[in-house]
């Protein structure tokens, strides 16, 4: 039965009417308030170098390498299938900083020239209304930051020697424009300890004991040696974390900060607390075939496995210190108003006769990296299993802090902050360190990850027969996460489809350089 509106009801409705007229304006002002609040939020991007997702217990690795990450992940967004932009520091870091893939930002060779597109389009430029601060242990990342600092993008670019106990800073200062090769040569000339011999016949015997003397008191705490970059730029992660946390609490807000710490990058020199903790565990390596690109004709698989153990023990050290860093900034209240991104520039591999990341390969260990995003005030964990890329980080940070979106970026806003991305989205990784920097890509490895499939395409390498030669592999990551069964000959249709897409993409990115 239909009920008539009484006079009382009518009066009630009339009373609400002004509110309904005011509501949109009120809600809009609330939204504006929220946006203004977001715009004043800080950002910390914390990169741990050469940190493979495949060695992280949070992602299912059998060794308990990241107890602190697991604890902290309970109030973070955890990305399970996150990919770096490249397989070593330069392209990986540049992709993270620019939101572009290596074939666009063009920072894919060691210490290459700066590219205009990178200097003009990057995270620091995008956060120009923030106080921008950056530090890196890693000389390659420093080289990139130096280019951005030169372009007027960074307010406070902290020199790497700030956090080194000893340094060969004189060499890098004198030969600033050729820092990498000058320091490689310096290491070979003066530091005999690593290999047992050096170019120098006399000075090395004086220089090394002098450097060693300065860190003598720390040696008992680091049985594999005090952590270092390029042999004798010694550092302590504890000291770096203390310095970072106290510095970050005192910089003007809102700030955008980028910190790039060396561990767990080689040499894997863990703290005494974690030394040999995995020595007698039952984990065994998954047997994988010897590869064409393995270094040397007879790689020592046992030695590589031992190196992985040292790496895992070094991760434990990094995990503890990162845990301490986050606890510190949380205690100070900074985390309540700060977006924290924890990730890596690339991974590390210990299989197929290959150790490290100086390789043409793009197998999962060397490109799948961790990504955790800590949102201000978040108290719950969200797990994201969609494939995501380093180039997504910049658009995501701009989106969540209410900044103008980066129209140059090739990434998308990450879930859950943006719409759920297309699961069939094409996700690329590029390795082209032997290619000329500003030329079409003709010597490289590229990967296309689409849904559960991953296509790896090697081309132009001398080992394959030089120009025009290629090698194609297809893996089903869902059913074969160890990439043991190459499906390129059994799934010809999928291979052809993905290869066609990849080649089209290559043709597109090569276009400006032809």
């Amino acid at each position: 039965m239909k009920k008539d509106i009484t006079r009382r009801d009518f009066l009630k409705l009339t009373g609400v009417l002004p509110l309904s007229i005011a509501a949109p304006r009120f809600l809009h002002s609330l939204d504006t308030f929220q946006q203004a609040q977001n715009k004043s939020q800080n950002v910390i991007v914390l990169v741990l170098d050469a940190f493979s997702a495949l060695d992280i217990s949070l992602y299912g690795y059998q060794r308990e390498t990241t107890p602190n990450f697991a604890r902290l992940a309970e109030r973070a967004v955890v990305y399970h299938n996150h990919y770096a932009g490249g397989n070593f520091t330069t392209p990986g870091t540049a992709s993270l900083l620019s939101g572009m893939l290596p074939w666009k930002h063009r920072q894919f060779v060691h210490y290459g020239e700066e590219s205009e597109i990178f200097v003009k389009n990057n995270i620091f430029r995008a956060f120009e209304n923030h106080y921008r601060i950056a530090y890196s242990h890693n000389p390659l990342a420093n080289n990139l930051l130096g280019k951005l600092d030169g372009g007027g993008n960074i307010d406070n670019y902290i020199p790497s020697k700030q956090l080194f106990l000893t340094t060969d800073g004189l060499i890098t200062d004198v030969f600033k424009k050729d820092e990498d090769i000058a320091s490689v040569s310096w290491v070979r000339a003066i530091k005999s300890k690593e290999e047992g011999f050096a170019y120098s016949l006399f000075l090395s015997h004086l220089y090394e004991p002098y450097q060693e003397f300065k860190i003598e008191r720390l040696k008992p705490l680091y049985p594999r040696g005090v952590p270092s970059v390029k042999s004798d730029n010694y550092f302590l992660l504890e000291q770096a974390i203390d310095w970072l946390s106290s510095t970050i609490e005192n910089v003007p807000q809102p700030f955008m900060s980028y910190f790039h710490l060396m561990p767990p990058h080689a040499p894997y020199k863990t703290h005494l607390d974690f030394y040999d903790v995995f020595k007698n565990d039952s984990l065994k390596p998954v047997p994988k075939p010897f590869d064409l690109f393995s270094r040397g004709e007879d790689p020592d698989f046992e030695e590589i496995w031992q190196a992985r153990r040292s790496y895992d023990e070094f991760i434990l050290y990094a995990d503890r210190e990162i845990g301490r860093f986050i606890d510190k900034i949380e205690k100070s209240g900074l985390l309540e108003n700060t977006w924290l991104v924890l990730t890596s520039d690339h991974g590390e591999m210990f299989e197929r006769g290959i150790q490290g990341h100086f390789t043409p390969h793009l197998y999962q260990p060397v490109i799948r990296v961790p990504l955790l995003i800590f949102e201000p005030g978040r108290r719950t964990r969200t797990d994201i299993f969609t494939n995501t890329s380093a180039v997504d980080v910049l658009p995501t940070l701009l989106h969540v802090t209410g900044q103008k979106q980066a129209d140059w970026s090739e990434g998308s806003v990450l879930p859950p902050f943006g719409p759920e991305p297309d699961p069939q989205r094409n996700l690329y990784v590029l390795q082209a360190k032997s290619n000329r920097q500003f030329a079409p890509i003709t010597v490289a490895t590229t990967t296309l990850v689409k849904g559960q499939y991953k296509l790896i395409y090697f081309f132009g390498y001398g080992e394959l027969g030089g120009s025009g030669s290629e090698r194609i592999e297809l893996y089903d990551l869902k059913n074969d996460p160890e990439e043991l069964n190459d499906l390129s000959s059994s799934k010809r249709e999928t291979t052809a489809e993905l290869l066609n897409e990849l080649k089209q993409k290559l043709a597109q990115v090569n276009e400006p350089y032809i």
Partner: protein, 187 residues
């Protein structure tokens, strides 16, 4: 009166520079392939160039030390003899330094019987030190004695140094090219 002539000092410098440059060149070319693999051959050339510059600097330092040592040698011997003495001592010391590196470079391991023999002694370390001292002593004392006492040996050393000096001049030319490369890489 000047203790050493300019020509004598130049000859001594060439002798000091020879082993340092020869060793650097051997190792730098040994590193060439991995640096090329790491980046490219231009960078590998860069590593060789820096290596040569560092070798030149070290040569100058070793030469200065040798000159200072030269002041300790009595003037009762002719300049030629004194320079030959200092030169041969630098040379022998360099050879010992190279030998210590070769031990690691060629992955030389001491025979099990030798280790067992030393281990069976009451004071193996002391004996090792004494043996080393005798070896080094012989390689230093014997040439020193021969340079100072034997005319034939002195002429042999001089002949050897002359040949070596010619080679070192080539190395110094390479240093110059290395310097140009380093400058080009840094401008």
């Amino acid at each position: 009166m000047k203790r050493y002539s300019k020509q004598g000092l130049w000859a001594l410098f060439l002798i000091c520079a020879f082993p340092l440059h020869a060793w650097t060149i051997i190792l730098a070319f040994r590193d060439f392939s991995w640096v090329t693999e790491r980046t490219n051959s231009w960078d590998a050339i860069g590593v060789v160039s820096y290596g040569l510059i560092f070798a030149f600097i070290e040569s100058v330092l070793v030469f200065l030390v040798a000159v200072l040592l030269g002041f300790l040698v009595s003037r009762k011997w002719a300049e030629e003899r004194r320079l030959a003495l200092v030169g041969i001592l630098v040379f022998i010391t360099s050879l010992w330094a190279i030998a210590s590196y070769l031990f690691f470079m060629l992955n030389i391991s001491i025979a099990g019987e030798t280790i067992n023999f030393f281990a069976s002694l009451a004071h193996p370390l002391r004996v090792l030190y004494v043996v080393s001292l005798i070896l080094v002593g012989i390689t230093v004392v014997l040439p020193t004695y021969l340079v100072l006492r034997s005319e034939k040996f002195l002429q042999g050393v001089r002949g050897f140094f002359e040949r070596v000096s010619t080679l070192t001049l080539f190395y110094l030319f390479f240093d110059f090219i290395g310097l140009v490369i380093v400058i080009v890489r840094n401008v």
